[in-house]
């Protein structure tokens, strides 16, 4: 109980803040040339259509405006707020503005969202309870991972923060649990053919790589069963100190593989970013200390070319 009186997982949350901001910037800057087509009032999903469908998909968006000028202002405000959020400047008001604007951006066009975007938006309410700016941020004076600073005891703020962390870990567990459970009801996932079947789809295939999987029943089976096993075991293993590293490694391999072979790059980042919260601050400090020592050794013994 005493542990809840101090803010925990601050370093991991800083990384989540950074990755979430970068994903938002990928959307905002990557689609900047065609922003009106994707999200504008006269684009592919015009405001009149958004309003028509709102009773069936009740997801409001502040970007659902009729004026192109107002849309431009809000779009560029979203970019500015996201940059502030990325550098960790502006504390809670910026975090709230980021939450509202990124929610609005992704919900403005219902067919833009991927499963990773869904996870990002589900994480946002919990992230609002947490302090994501204690490290690697302008607000903290760019406090590094190895800094000697420790959060002061602020019981009520810490309680709220740790409730947010608890919620994020639960959300991650729920995602993996149900993604895995649904697979138990699908014949292709039980007979080992699902991975190959998915990689045959043009949209999700990478020429030269996908054929290796769907051309090999063995490789397809290995990937299929590993996917299911990973998703079913992760909800428990990520809570245990002895096994959370295993979940993190598998997550990077699994989602990284999806990003590269299936082209779902933002999904890969979004699905992996919550893994940062799984590890306590001591883990990051230990890793940072080891890497610093290794780097110092390399520098000390570098070959001298004279």
């Amino acid at each position: 109980m005493a542990g809840l009186a101090t803010e925990r997982r601050l370093i991991g949350l800083a990384f989540v803040r950074i990755v979430a901001s970068l994903v938002a910037l990928v959307y905002l800057l990557g689609q900047w040339p065609t922003r009106h087509l994707i999200w504008g009032p006269d684009g592919s999903y015009p405001t009149w259509l958004f309003e028509r469908e709102l009773p069936f998909m009740p997801a409001p968006s502040v970007l659902a405006v009729s004026s192109p000028v107002v849309f431009e202002a809000l779009y560029h405000l979203t970019i500015a707020v996201t940059i502030c959020h990325l550098i960790g400047w502006g504390s809670f008001p910026i975090r709230l503005a980021f939450a509202i604007l990124v929610w609005s951006l992704l919900r403005r066009h219902p067919y833009v969202m991927t499963g990773g975007d869904s996870l990002l938006l589900l994480a946002v309410p919990w992230l609002l309870l947490t302090n994501t700016g204690a490290y690697l941020s302008a607000d903290s004076g760019w406090r590094g991972i190895g800094a000697g600073w420790r959060p002061s005891a602020r019981p009520w703020r810490a309680l709220l923060h740790n409730v947010g962390v608890f919620g994020l870990l639960w959300q991650l567990s729920v995602m993996y649990l149900f993604a895995g459970l649904y697979k138990l009801y699908g014949a292709p996932w039980l007979d080992g053919s699902a991975a190959g079947a998915v990689l045959r789809i043009d949209r999700f295939s990478l020429p030269g790589v996908s054929e290796l999987v769907y051309g090999s029943p063995l490789l397809s089976a290995v990937l299929t069963y590993w996917t299911t096993a990973f998703e079913l075991t992760a909800p428990l293993l990520l809570w245990l100190p002895a096994t959370r590293w295993l979940v993190a490694v598998q997550s990077v391999l699994f989602h990284g593989g999806i990003g590269v072979t299936m082209g779902l790059v933002t999904f890969a980042f979004e699905a992996t970013m919550l893994q940062f919260v799984v590890f306590p601050d001591t883990s990051y400090r230990r890793l940072s200390a080891r890497l610093s020592a290794r780097l110092a050794t390399l520098v000390r013994y570098r070959p001298r070319f004279e």
Binding site: M1, A2, G3, L4, A5, T6, R8, Y27, Q31, R35, H36, L37, P41, D42, G43, S44, Y45, P46, L49, R52, P58, A59, P60, P68, R107, H109, Y111, V112, G115, L122, R150, A153, P155, L159, V163, F166, W170, V174, L177, F178, A179, Y182, K183, Y185, G186, P188, W189, A194, V198, R200, I201, R203, L206, P207, G259, V260, G263, T266, P280, D281
Partner: protein, 222 residues
């Protein structure tokens, strides 16, 4: 005297009992929240009928979720979207050939995984998939597809997905033929089982919906 938790020195001041009570309640609230989320996914009827509107109001839209990621059964179709437009000429009217909306974006993303076309593919793929689904069983039969096309003859009667495809198609035509004044846009949506025969005849596939031409959509791209 202090204790260390996660390398953090905690206060020597004991926490008041009511803080501990609130802490337990908040943690329990989180567990209850996710129990509710899981119940709505696994067994929605388990929630008493009088409470369902309340639960819906609480969960929708910020917490509702569904993690059917390629499961239970992965959808193993390649979706195709073609568009053509008719325009006025000195001799009357002419029509462009069918232009493929999806294939160029797929190729762009296969060449570069960081391509901004990834968003376009997501929209096209979903819009095509949901348009085919919206056609329902009628979409499986030749006569049925005629009925669907007739039912969706005007923009006002169309599902949102068809409107999105027509608007994307209009934008694509306008960019491809900037000098032409288009009057109508027509979309054809198909679903081809993966590994099936290549596209050779635009109108002859088993799940191809040929929508009626609608007025060319004035779409702002940039």
């Amino acid at each position: 005297m202090t204790a260390a938790v996660d390398g953090v020195a905690t206060s020597a001041q004991p926490l008041p009992a009511w803080w501990r009570t609130v802490a337990v309640l908040l943690m329990a609230a989180v567990v209850f929240h996710f129990a509710l989320v899981m119940t709505t996914i696994v067994a929605p009827p388990a929630i008493p009928a009088p409470l369902q509107p309340l639960v819906q109001a609480y969960l929708v839209p910020f917490f509702v979720q569904d993690w059917r990621l390629f499961s239970p059964i992965p959808d193993t179709h390649d979706y195709e979207v073609f568009v053509r437009g008719s325009y006025r000429t000195a001799d009357g009217h002419a029509t462009t050939p069918w232009l493929d909306l999806i294939e160029p974006t797929v190729e762009a993303v296969q060449r570069n995984r960081l391509s901004p076309h990834a968003v376009r593919i997501e929209i096209l793929h979903k819009a095509a998939l949901f348009t085919i689904r919206a056609a329902g069983p009628y979409g499986e039969l030749g006569t049925g597809r005629e009925i669907v096309a007739e039912r969706w003859a005007t923009v006002e009667q169309q599902p949102a997905t068809a409107i999105v495809l027509e608007r994307l198609g209009s934008a694509y035509l306008a960019e491809r033929y900037p000098e032409r004044q288009f009057e109508t846009v027509q979309v054809m949506v198909g679903a081809r089982p993966t590994g099936g025969p290549p596209s050779s005849d635009a109108g002859a596939r088993s799940s191809t919906l040929l929508l009626r031409p609608v007025p060319f959509q004035d779409v702002r791209v940039r």
